[in-house]
């Protein structure tokens, strides 16, 4: 299905879940409180059938701005694609977890939590995945500053010696 047809189909099944799509944009913003319902629908509806989650990525627009998460969905039999985006608060932001809908999201959500600090509500095992459990801060935030010490080891910041 084409992008506009997919949007129309979702609008018909879950009215008001998607924000009106921008002209010429290949993605759609979803209302955070409707996400779990929409995700279920996107996967289960036989006409949509997005059975594969290609990519899940966290994003930061800059200090003081809300964070957002992009879900790139794909259907292995209907062969159409959709990018869904959700906004989350910078401080204590939370999004419904889809780890039980697409299992791919399990580790990817943990990664977004690890690097951006967005909490995924209902995730079976929400903890850091790439960084040590006691690491402070979330490195991919634009206003992140690395700690001076980690467990007594100085964190190397001055690169002049090896650049």
């Amino acid at each position: 299905m084409e992008f506009t047809e997919i949007i129309a189909r979702v609008d018909q099944l879950a009215p008001g879940a998607f924000a009106p799509a921008e002209e010429g944009a290949g993605h759609v913003w979803v209302q955070p409180e409707q996400w779990l319902k929409v995700a279920q629908l996107l996967r289960e509806d036989p006409e949509l059938h997005f059975d594969s989650l290609m990519c899940l990525s966290g994003h930061d627009r800059g200090p003081e701005q809300p964070l957002w998460v992009a879900y790139n969905l794909h259907s292995m039999d209907i062969l159409h694609k959709l990018e869904v985006r959700i906004e989350a608060l910078r401080e204590g932001g939370s999004i419904f977890s889809v780890a039980n809908i697409w299992r791919t999201a399990d580790w990817h959500e943990r990664e977004v939590y690890d690097l951006f600090g967005i909490n995924f509500e209902g995730h079976p095992d929400m903890r850091r995945i790439l960084l040590p459990v006691d690491w402070e801060g979330h490195p991919l935030l634009k206003d992140y500053t690395a700690p001076d010490y980690y467990r007594g080891i100085p964190v190397l910041k001055d690169k002049r010696g090896w650049e």
Binding site: D51, S52, M54, A70, M76, R103, T104, W107, L130, L131
Partner: protein, 382 residues
């Protein structure tokens, strides 16, 4: 051999659960991976992979360097398939910028990518044999991989991390007689695969260890985001080179190899191994066709942009790597440095399924499953 379920019901002896750490330094973990295995006697009841030992925040690095400078970093992600990685990165940035690539460059890139795919599969095949106790096969596959590395060294000057594929082109044109050298290599290499078949693929002990072990059903594979040989071994005919032809892959005649369950069940460890062996044969076909069609001349730097400054926007681009579907999500703010890069690495998803398929098997079967998933920690930890 008794299945795990039968063994469990074999007697009434109740053993205590024990937690076993496999790794971070373990000969079969293909890097620094730690598997926390909960065992009930010899039987594995839960596997919890702990990753991140090689984490260097590649994505944060990307935000601080220019688009061209990212190439050495992506080369180091899947260090067994550097050419493929930089190929995907270059294609993603080119698509974001809307650059058309000269024909000759496309062919050179495909030849490199397919040779690299053979090299990566050789490593996977040899290492899996090694994991399962057969030390000889890896010496054979390494001998043959070495000849591919010689070709790469001839082209780019490096043997492992090439920095050869640039945005908009390649670093150098092919050196003299490269086409003939590659043809000689392919003619020599093709019979070697028969030797691997005799040595390992149809080896009785190897089949006993891998057939019917760690079966991954197709729907589970799709749901967990498994791609590449792991997905195809489960009987799903899905190859991005065929499904979403990028570069010039629509011009070549090749088969998508799908697991058939020849000696066991579809989607078992043996199938995952066998798909890689068969794919090497298909790679040879593609390289031969690419060498035949290679345009005789053309400037490989013709489309290299003076300044890489993609317009504002986002792109998600994915392509078929030896390990599966490698995707880049790039956000550009119009400056020479990427605003955000997300790398969706195939091995990350392929590894996450291990608890699903190796649970309920013996500890030694976990090794077989891990070998058959063919992971590279460089791209899992990024």
């Amino acid at each position: 051999m008794k299945t795990a379920e039968e063994l469990k019901n074999f007697g009434v002896i109740k053993t205590e659960e024990m937690v076993l750490n496999m790794g971070p330094q373990h000969p079969s973990t293909h890097g620094v991976l730690r598997l926390k295995i909960k065992t009930d006697g010899e039987i594995v009841s839960e596997i919890e992979p702990h990753i991140g030992y090689l984490h260097r925040c590649f994505e944060k690095h990307c935000e601080n360097v220019t688009y061209e400078q990212v190439i050495p970093y992506v080369d180091r992600c899947d260090y067994l398939a550097s050419m493929n990685n930089s190929h995907v990165w270059a294609m993603a940035v080119e698509k974001l910028m809307g650059i058309e690539i000269p024909e000759r460059v496309e062919y050179i890139r495909v030849i490199m990518a397919e040779l690299q795919r053979i090299a990566s599969h050789l490593m996977a095949v040899g290492a899996m044999g090694l994991d399962l106790g057969g030390i000889t096969p890896i010496t054979y596959t390494f001998r043959d991989r070495e000849r591919i590395l010689d070709l790469f060294e001839y082209v780019s000057g490096a043997r492992l991390l090439y920095n050869y594929i640039w945005i908009g082109g390649v670093a150098h044109d092919l050196p003299p007689n490269f086409v003939q050298h590659t043809r000689d290599f392919l003619d020599w290499f093709e019979p070697q695969i028969v030797e691997y078949d005799r040595l390992l693929t149809y080896n009785k002990i190897f089949i006993e260890r891998t057939a019917d072990v760690g079966v991954l059903p197709a729907d589970v594979a799709i749901n967990w985001g498994c791609t590449g040989p792991v997905l195809r071994a489960s009987g799903v005919e899905w190859d991005l080179r065929r499904a979403e032809p990028y570069s010039i892959y629509d011009r070549f005649d090749f088969d998508v190899v799908v697991g058939k369950g020849e000696v066991g069940t579809v989607g078992d460890c043996w199938d995952r191994y066998w798909v890689r062996v068969e794919e090497m044969r298909q790679c040879i076909r593609i390289v031969r066709q690419a060498l035949d069609q290679l345009p005789p001349d053309g400037d490989v730097h013709a489309a290299v942009p003076k300044k890489v400054r993609p317009p504002k926007g986002e792109i998600h681009f994915r392509a078929e790597n030896p390990k599966g579907d490698l995707g880049f999500y790039i956000v550009s703010d119009g400056s020479p440095k990427p605003y955000r890069v997300k790398m969706r690495s195939p091995a990350f998803c392929n590894l996450s399924v291990i608890n699903e398929i190796a649970r309920g098997w013996m500890i030694s079967d976990v090794i077989a499953v891990l070998g058959s998933l063919d992971i590279v920690l460089g791209e899992i930890d990024r």
